[in-house]
């Protein structure tokens, strides 16, 4: 059992958990992730590591509500426990002094991008961060990103905060302004990473993306997370999750991530049908279909 020592919403439906996991905290490096299982009948899902505290032996994870498991997870609070947390998994980001690194975080992907941005900064890079979200409330970790970046650019799809538009607009601006970019790291929705990769391909800027396929064990045992990279099959859990964005076949990733859509919808529907009054309240806390103003509240 892994105890949640602190839980808080960063945005509607996006929650940060500080989890007691000393072994993981000691080893975690930017770019890595954990796999967790909430309860006995639960599935195993990969989750982003935002940060860790070696001294306190804790790991911060950030979770966005989507299906049953993430909704259930986001109904947990300080003092609750998660049955299994395993990691840190995946290869760490390749941190070096590249020169100027543009770190792009889309939505909850910002949580995964943040430790990489911080490490790139520590390695002596000039770090320009671009953070994008659907709207103002979904912009997460802005102060954290500012603390580790030389410049931060923010976009919202609806213009409710900072500049209206997409992260790609900001990247295009940088390129058009003649900013020398040595590396782009992009973490976020597949469509975003694909758009970024397409843009940098033309400019010949090396681009790393962090992939999020369906996984079970996370140790290279099942092969469910295989992705096509440069025409070759790679396992995101052990060969990645970061890959050369110019070589990734994003269409295959989208297609494979849709494999269990029917089952996922059925799971979610049953979950909502079965839930009791009290879990309904938990779900509200988790930011599902309730007014945004209430969502930051904790029990």
């Amino acid at each position: 059992m892994f105890k949640i020592v602190h839980a808080e919403f960063l945005a509607p439906g996006v929650k940060r958990f500080v989890i007691e996991a000393p072994r993981i905290a000691r080893k975690q490096k930017p770019g890595q992730f954990v796999i967790l299982r909430i309860y006995e009948e639960g599935e195993r899902i990969p989750v982003t590591i935002e940060n860790s505290d070696r001294e306190r032996g804790t790991v911060n994870i950030v979770v966005q509500s989507a299906g049953k498991t993430t909704q259930l997870l986001n109904s947990l609070n300080t003092g609750d426990s998660i049955l299994d947390v395993v990691g840190p998994l995946g290869k760490p980001s390749e941190i070096a002094n590249y020169g100027t690194v543009v770190v792009v975080g889309g939505g909850v992907g910002t949580a995964m991008a943040y430790p990489t941005a911080a490490a790139m900064k520590r390695a002596g890079n000039r770090v320009i961060s671009i953070v994008g979200a659907r709207n103002k409330e979904l912009v997460i970790l802005e102060p954290e990103m500012r603390a580790v970046s030389d410049a931060v650019m923010i976009t919202t799809d609806d213009g409710s905060y900072a500049d209206k538009g997409f992260v790609t607009d900001k990247l295009r601006q940088l390129i058009e302004n003649g900013t020398r970019i040595d590396l782009v790291v992009a973490v976020g929705p597949i469509v975003m990473m694909r758009a970024i990769a397409e843009m940098t391909r033309k400019e010949n800027i090396h681009t790393v993306v962090s992939l999020n396929p369906i996984m079970i064990d996370g140790t290279g045992m099942c092969g469910g997370c295989r992705v096509l990279v440069g025409g070759k099959s790679e396992f995101a859990c052990v060969d990645g999750p970061e890959f050369d964005g110019h070589k990734v076949d994003f269409a295959v990733l989208v297609q494979r991530n849709s494999m269990y859509r029917d089952a996922e919808q059925r799971s979610l529907a049953e979950f909502h049908r079965c839930k009791t009054e009290s879990t309904a309240r938990d779900l509200e806390d988790a930011g599902v279909a309730v007014p945004a103003g209430r969502q930051g509240e904790q029990r």
Partner: protein
């Protein structure tokens, strides 16, 4: 006490024993079991077990024991069954085998003990596996456990991987007074016994009971630890103070065929397919959350001819598949699967497409599998494995309509431990180098065995390696000599 010194307890003269027919294993009817995950074999009753035990010829030099990788004293345990001392029989097995309820079910006895049984020269061999299973289950029902009382040595051993070889090492060393801690990457103990072998062949409750037994013996288990990621071998030794480490991580890296279309939705590795069903209980979806493609009314094929292939396709049948095929590129006689499993699979209605190999997967244009494009093969000259090489027949191409294809053509070495342990020697296929006799690796205090050394083999061979390793670890811990 030597059995040879006393008179046989078997009332039958040798000539009579050979006339007793091998007692059949009671089993669930094929038509019924093809639709459930309950165990196929139901187990001997005490009467059947005692009747079967009478057939043992009590050879002066028992070749069955010589041919058992862990050296179970067959003659001695069978002798105890004859007189109805079932717990004594169980204790006798446990001197050499910490997982009798498992091996009694999944061991390929025809290649091991029973393959060398003297009876098989004239009639069917003694049902050693069935008898082992009977006494192990009897012991479990009685709830009697032997708890070791060896004086503590103060030495600590880390076992990496909780599959059959790791469990054997743990069970043997705890009985020598060493402290043992087993690290498992998954959330459940048992390795391939829980993620790989299906419920209908090895109920998970049986595995849990055997693990519980080991806990009572004092073995400690820690799940959710991926050695090489969560902690390294060096950290186990230097920071956590383990005096020796045994690596039994298995051969868990699935191999694909590298043919077009392997990324289509509906194409699985056998590891993934079986892990979803066995470890994650996807067959109980939506009670359990892990999803599985709905196989009801679908056509499913497995590619490969080993036990894993049969486990996968028989699982697919139980999940409602309309047609369930085995696609194997050689013929019946080259199939590596156990004869009993092939027999059971045929009874259940599995369609064997022998001398057939897929060359490409076909999709609906949206990324969902619709067929396997196959060719028929014929057998040519023997290849490196000594088996006749399958050669494609020209013009034999055809499409086999499928919704799901499961690839079970073997596994490779998972590199996580090797790549994070400096100085640990590996061979060119990535398996860990270890002495066949002592299981010592190129690193002092580090031992390895089972599939991560040999490549994928059987539960009992991994256990055999575990036994040798335990003996050699004990020697190392006692003498300090490397």
């Amino acid at each position: 006490m030597s059995l040879t010194a006393k008179k046989s307890s078997n009332p039958l003269p040798l000539k009579e024993r050979i006339k007793v027919p091998r007692q059949l294993m009671p089993e669930q009817a094929a038509a019924e079991r093809a639709h459930n995950f309950s165990e196929v074999n139901l187990g001997y009753s005490a009467e059947l077990a005692q009747q079967e035990a009478l057939r043992c010829l009590e050879c002066a030099k028992p070749t069955c024991t010589d041919n058992c990788p862990v050296g179970v004293k067959v003659k001695e345990f069978v002798e105890r069954i004859v007189i109805g001392d079932f717990l004594g029989a169980a204790a006798k097995i446990r001197e050499d085998n910490v997982l009798p309820a498992v091996t009694g079910r999944v061991c390929p006895q025809e290649d091991q003990c029973e393959g060398k049984c003297l009876l098989s020269k004239k009639v069917k061999p003694l049902g050693i596996g069935y008898l082992e299973r009977f006494v192990a289950d009897y012991e479990q029902r009685m709830g009697t456990h032997i708890v070791p009382n060896a004086a503590p040595t103060g030495k600590r051993v880390a076992v990496v991987g909780s599959g059959p070889s790791g469990l054997t090492v743990a069970g043997d060393l705890i009985q020598k007074g060493h402290k043992v801690r087993v690290f498992e990457a998954l959330h459940e103990i048992g390795g391939v016994l829980v993620y790989g072998i299906p419920e209908f062949r090895l109920p998970k409750q049986i595995v849990r009971e055997q693990i519980e037994y080991m806990r009572e013996m004092g073995v400690e288990f820690e799940t959710d630890v991926v050695v090489g990621r969560t902690i390294t071998i060096d950290e186990l030794i230097e920071e956590e103070g383990f005096d020796a480490v045994y690596i039994g991580t298995g051969a868990g890296l699935p191999q694909f065929m590298n043919i077009p279309g392997e990324h289509f939705n509906g194409v699985y590795s056998a590891n993934e397919f079986l892990t979803r069903i066995n470890l994650m209980k996807a067959y109980k979806f939506p009670t359990y959350d892990e999803p599985m493609l709905d196989l009801h009314g679908k056509d499913v094929a497995v590619i490969g001819g080993g036990n894993t292939a049969l486990d996968a396709i028989r699982s697919a049948l139980r999940l409602g598949a309309r047609k369930a095929y085995v696609i194997y590129r050689r013929s019946d006689s080259e199939m590596p699967a156990r004869a009993e499993e092939v027999h059971h699979a045929r009874q259940e209605g599995i369609d064997f497409q022998m001398l057939t190999a897929p060359v490409e997967f076909v999709s609906d244009g949206k990324g969902w599998l619709t067929a396997a494009r196959c060719v028929r093969m014929e057998l040519g000259e023997p290849d490196a494995s000594g088996r006749r090489r399958p050669v494609p027949k020209e013009g034999s191409e055809f499409d086999l309509p499928l919704s799901v294809a499961i690839i079970a053509i073997g596994t490779g070495a998972n590199p996580i431990v090797q790549s994070t342990t400096p100085g640990l020697g590996t061979n060119k296929r990535g398996y860990i180098q270890a002495s066949e006799e002592t299981q010592r690796t190129t690193r002092k205090g580090v031992f390895a065995g089972g599939d991560i050394v040999t490549g994928s083999a059987t539960v009992i061979l991994a256990m055999g390696a575990g036994r040798r390793a335990a003996k050699s670890i004990h020697e190392y811990l006692t003498t300090g000599e490397w």
